[in-house]
Amino acid sequence: MTRFHSYLMNKILWFALAFCIALTLNFLLPRLIPGNPVDVIVSEMTTGGALSSEAAKGVYTAYIAEFGLDKPMHEQFLRYMGNLARGDLGISFARSPARVQTLIAQALPWTIALQLPAILTGWTLGNLLGVLTAYRKGVLDRGVFPIFMFISSMPYYCLAIILLYLFAVHFTIFPVAGGYSFAMTPAPTWEFFRSAAEHYVLPFSSLVLIFIGGQSVGMRAMSIYELDADYVRYSRSLGVADNRIIAYIFRNAMLPQITGLALAIGSMVSGALITEIVFSYPGIGSLLFGSIRQNDYPVIQGITLLIMIGVLIANFLVDIAYGFIDPRIRARTIGER
């Protein structure tokens, strides 16, 4: 067990390093923008006529002080890390005095509610389709599978746009935009849930179809590969029962699929960014889109940080789980390299 601990420590160190690099990039890159980001914001506010010059001056000094932009870089970095440790991501440029974490907390549930069921449904259906097309050839393999293969090679936002046009604009079956009717405010009422469900169908379907495609292509290839493996032939020649062989194959073919599931869940925030933009869905993607248009760097940084944390945690958990599950990795980390 101590060897496993050293494997664990090794992994923790690696991910800590990756996290530090990611944090540094997240801090540094937006500060490389020529000039002062606050200048850009304030000049845009004044040319838009939203602010008088007196008010602009006030906003300017407030922002400079808030971000500590008058201080040297290393002090800014320490301050940034200190704020992060307290869970404070700062004030939004465009929507001050709203804090970045509040904006993200409002958008995140929408993204999770859209992505998590889509990933789980797509993963389950995709794997089933992949296994079935690999074992039972025929109509499924020649008719249904190529359609999903085509869909999986399609950029996911293109499918989203086409679904939106077909089913919301051309045939007006579903609403064209938003997460719920614009006339409503989110409340736990029957009408609100109905409206949210209607708005949910198209973005959800566009994500699920792509996911089924990708999963089934992968699972079919894995299953065919395993069906042809030496251990299957050997087991057959020994007279091992079919069910048992299928169980072996399934276990081997599922391992990469489970990894894929974990990584998809980890990258769920960035996985549907453009789907949300296409459908004006009130999640992280739409928040990011608006923030990029308004040069709202604190919000952009908050979102990139959120994406990074999700992906790093998922990768870490997968590595640790592999240390348990995969005997090859277990042997390699314990024994010789």
Binding site: W14, F15, L17, A18, I21, A22, L25, N26, L29, P30, L32, I33, P34, F150, S153, M154, P155, Y157, C158, I161, I162, L164, Y165, A168, V169, H170, V176, A177, I224, S267, S270, L273, I274, I277, V278, L288, F289, I292, R293, N295, Y297, I300, Q301, T304, I307, M308, V311, L312, N315
Partner: protein, 301 residues
């Protein structure tokens, strides 16, 4: 084994390269339907983007020629966009921009991947450890984050800069695969023979190791090209595309921003979406069918 003279070694390396080339061009003798289809599609798309504007003499995709979302007509074959610009002209120029960005990104990713992969795989030891650690860290940090952060840090993004940014994030998988192949090729006899006959490290890598990876490198480039084109489109749709120019992603960006979908102006978004799908599908099909030809294990099925 006979004693290897330097003449023998150079003859050997030459024939290895020729075998690699013959194997690569041998695919033309084994063209299957999928390869034919994807190849034709790509030739058409590239011809459309590169030669189209020259042949038709439509060199300015930014010129206003109509009103807001004029429907397709005899002069505006695909109507006009939100700024009254000709969608057909934009589609040609956009395709070209997307392809250029994809090629720049793909070449950059392959070059970095080959450099890091061969150095790590051939030199081994501490160099390998450091380079692979670096590669693994880059793999772990999601590329979309780096792309967003780099793009907002550069306020005016040229086509070339976009290609460089995208290539900068997509090399690690190539580096990993190249390293694995290099370290297995390194111990082959013909490499030993060349080394004994006094070949330098660089010429060893170029003449004894790279030819064996030629088919892999071509495949990887096709995939990287696809990734590059799609990454550009994704960034453009987020509002971080190349400045002052038009790409397929930029066309979709404007179409979404100006409600082309919701007002039913299909000519604003169907052409770029269709072209992106066509390019992605053709490149993946090309990759799969060439892979099948070069990889006999897959061909059986």
């Amino acid at each position: 084994m006979t004693v290897a003279t330097s003449e023998h070694a150079s003859f050997d390396s030459g024939s290895v390269f020729l075998t690699g080339l013959r194997k690569f061009f041998g695919i033309f003798g084994m063209i299957n339907r999928r390869l034919l289809f994807s190849g034709c599609m790509l030739v058409l798309v590239v011809g459309f983007g590169v030669l189209g504007p020259i042949i038709l003499g439509r060199d300015n995709p930014m010129k206003t020629v109509g009103g807001l979302y004029d429907p397709p007509s005899a002069t505006l074959w695909l109507g006009s966009d939100n700024f009254g610009r000709d969608v057909f002209t934009q589609l040609m120029h956009g395709t070209r921009t997307s392809l250029i960005i994809g090629v720049i990104a793909g070449l950059e990713a392959i070059l970095i991947g080959l450099l890091i992969g061969t150095m790590a795989g051939y030199l081994g030891g501490i160099v390998e450890e450091v380079l692979m650690a670096f590669t693994n860290v880059v793999i772990t940090i999601p590329s979309i984050v780096i792309l967003i952060l780099l793009s907002i840090a550069i306020s005016t993004r040229s086509i070339f800069a976009m290609g460089l940014i995208i290539g900068l994030t997509s090399w690690p998988w190539t580096a990993r695969a190249v390293r694995a192949q290099t370290s297995s090729l390194r111990t082959r006899e013909h490499v030993d023979i060349a080394r004994l006959s006094g070949a330098g490290t660089l010429s060893l890598i170029i003449w004894e190791i790279l030819p064996y990876m030629l088919s892999y490198v071509v495949m990887a480039f096709v995939l990287q090209l696809n990734t590059g084109i799609l990454q550009e489109a994704a960034l453009s749709m987020l509002g971080l595309g190349p400045s002052n120019t038009i790409s397929l992603g930029q066309m979709l960006h404007w179409a979404l921003l100006w409600e082309s979908v919701r007002t039913g102006a299909w000519w604003g978004f169907v052409p770029p979406a269709l072209f992106l799908t066509l390019i992605a599908f053709s490149l993946l099909l090309l990759q799969a069918s060439v892979d099948e030809i070069l990889n006999p294990r897959l061909r059986k099925r």
